[in-house]
Subunit: 217 residues, 2 copies
């Protein structure tokens, strides 16, 4: 069995590794979308790829809520606006710069998904999460990242909106009580491509060298 | 500026997308490692790639602790053993199957990193995390996933150990108080390759169809 598995496992060459690095470098948190609809079935296919992600104890705790109803979308947009106003008021010397940032694509993105972690799932039989229950949430964050990369490889942009009240989003979307809100995704064709984060291009923050985040023990 | 950016942005073709899907399918949570050392600089290079990950407000909250000291490694192994015994005792009808699972590569993996989220970082100026501070932790989980994929593309395996007491790990590694433990990674050349999760091959749990985790609202 092992020999058979080994015989067919893929080898990844330097060309693929360079392209993977380019994918990581050009994956952006997109806030400016074209309004064109995605081809039918696109989002379900991307979710299928996301489900290849690792999950603690093979619990697969990700739950994807595809938000189509206009009233629910409007309610999420209102929630974002309220939370964003609160956040603006927390910014003192940077308030004017903050106010100029575009922090969501909720108006234009043709597709929106809210992603939750099912904290009550029996799948996985609790393995790996007794001391660290938040690993369920991490598994879902990683699935979002997988979806994000798969989308970008097809020229589709994803923007992660976190300026939301998790309890209110759960209420708007009428999801089971044990589902923890992880993130709301705007998905569609991006208005532009870039290899630098929008927040860096807009002067909010910059990337730092990776050597600064490594210590040895 | 925009035209210039567009002119040089990479296009990903169907061949790359197929390889990316293969990478996602063959990325495993590795628990059986060869003891061969990684080439010097490998882990720092992989961490550099991980730092291309998205982070809330461009906060880059990831902190990588490369654990080399044998006494600290032994203490982490002890912590795992204690937590794993507790977990075994929580399993009633599945205890004998649980006891047979190999849940970490701590004995053999040549490289070990503990990964933390700096919850006190000023970087990003708080953007995006006022209502959802755990997005800092999610950013770090995603960076681990990026490292994992980049490693697998080089034939290097990663195993994520979560059966640990976070407070004890922080103590063993003597890290700043504001750092939240996210995961401990074993890294090295895998003993085997597979496209099915080890927990599925060992009869613990199986993957479920992605259609079951999608709802429409």
């Amino acid at each position: 069995m092992e020999a058979k598995l080994r015989a067919r496992h893929p080898d990844f060459d330097p060309t693929f590794r360079d392209q993977l690095r380019a994918l990581l470098a050009w994956r952006r948190d997109v806030r400016r979308f074209k309004r064109d609809a995605l081809a039918p079935g696109t989002i379900e296919r991307l979710i299928g790829i996301a489900c290849l992600s690792p999950s603690v104890g093979l619990s697969e705790p990700w739950r994807f809520v595809i938000v189509e109803d206009q009233a629910r979308r409007a309610a999420i947009r209102d929630c974002f606006e309220a939370c964003n106003q609160d956040a603006l008021h927390q910014q003192s010397d940077r308030a004017s710069l903050y106010a100029r940032l575009k922090l969501s694509g909720l108006d234009d993105a043709p597709c929106q998904i809210a992603v939750f972690a099912d904290r009550a799932t029996a799948q996985g039989h609790g393995l790996g999460r007794l001391t660290m229950p938040a690993t369920l949430d991490y598994s879902v964050a990683i699935a979002i990242h997988t979806l994000w990369l798969a989308a970008r490889a097809e020229g589709i942009g994803v923007g992660w909106v976190s300026i939301l009240d998790p309890a209110r989003v759960a209420e708007i979307l009428d999801v089971p009580q044990d589902w923890t809100f992880i993130g709301h995704l705007c998905i569609g064709c991006p208005e532009e491509e870039a290899d630098l984060p929008a927040l860096q291009r807009q002067g909010w923050e910059r990337r730092h060298p990776s050597a600064g985040v490594v210590i040895y023990r």
